[in-house]
Subunit: 177 residues, 2 copies
């Protein structure tokens, strides 16, 4: 049986961080930088919670997120050897459910609906590997955790870090599991 | 740690079968009975695939499904002792995603968004128990399988059968696992 990989959307195959910074700036006038988010932490950096909530619940926010550099090419490559599941914590933002499904259909049409999971908590997801940008998902995952680099996780060191999608196929080959 | 239960929506907490029979009749003029679905099997009974597809992709179909008798009361009761996850194979019907989320918010507002999962294939769901009406989910589930009675599964005998929600709390107590 092929090994399975749960791949997150926001911050992993979707380049959500710069998109959020841009929309947050349009809403508040505040220009956040990667350095500031890294220094302050995500929660303190996006200090205006009303504006943040508004952005994340605005129609088309999730539909228009750009694709992460080389995600399509490398996910395509991984599908030759692994069972790929896209696992997104979409349930917090009801509007995003349909938009994320459409986004995947546009950018990753080769991924079957059978392999897409929208959830809240990822604790009941059981795959051999999980690629994610948040410890809240990686720390408790049942498989091998791989952390995709993000401004907000730059200070975390207890997971294997992925800096770019081009690293992933080789990295997986080197992991004995 | 509390044991976890994955509970399906359609045919388990949502009384989808009679709802589908009614909408299918409105579309085709054909009156299906539980007996006929049981005898022919679901696939042969809903023979007009164009009409079936239309119904399942019509806005408000999933939003208006009635709640299964005593599902709310018994899920509420189970939440005292178990971690409850609602796991629905909603991904096949993109329109249903938002409607199912709204349906849950209306009828099961006490279930957190963190405990809702919309997926395709349920093979990567890992809970201690799974309550579902389809073998395609139950046969491969990682926990203990419990089959919720439906017209279409009346002939299947290799899972413990639940005939009514009122049976569930006692049944779970008797299962050593």
């Amino acid at each position: 049986m092929r090994k399975s990989i749960a791949i997150d959307m926001d911050g992993v195959i979707a380049d959500t961080e710069p998109h959020l910074i841009e929309w947050y700036k349009n809403e508040t006038g505040i220009s956040l930088t990667p350095q500031l988010i890294n220094e302050l932490g995500e929660d303190a950096a996006f200090a205006d919670k009303t504006a943040l909530h508004k952005v994340l619940h605005t129609q088309s926010f999730f539909r228009t997120v750009p694709v992460m550099d080389k995600a399509v090419e490398n996910v395509t490559l991984l599908m030759e050897d692994y069972e790929i599941f896209i696992v997104s914590a979409a349930m917090e933002f009801p509007l995003s459910l349909y938009e994320k499904r459409e986004w995947l259909q546009e950018h990753f049409p080769f991924i079957s609906w059978k392999n897409i999971i929208f959830c809240g908590d990822k604790s009941i997801i059981d795959t051999d590997y999980m690629i994610d940008d948040y410890c809240k998902n990686l720390d408790f995952c049942k498989g091998k955790a791989l952390m995709f680099n993000a401004y907000h996780n730059a200070h975390i060191n207890h997971h294997i870090r992925i800096n770019h999608w081009d690293e992933v196929p080789e990295l997986l080959k080197t992991l004995t599991y």
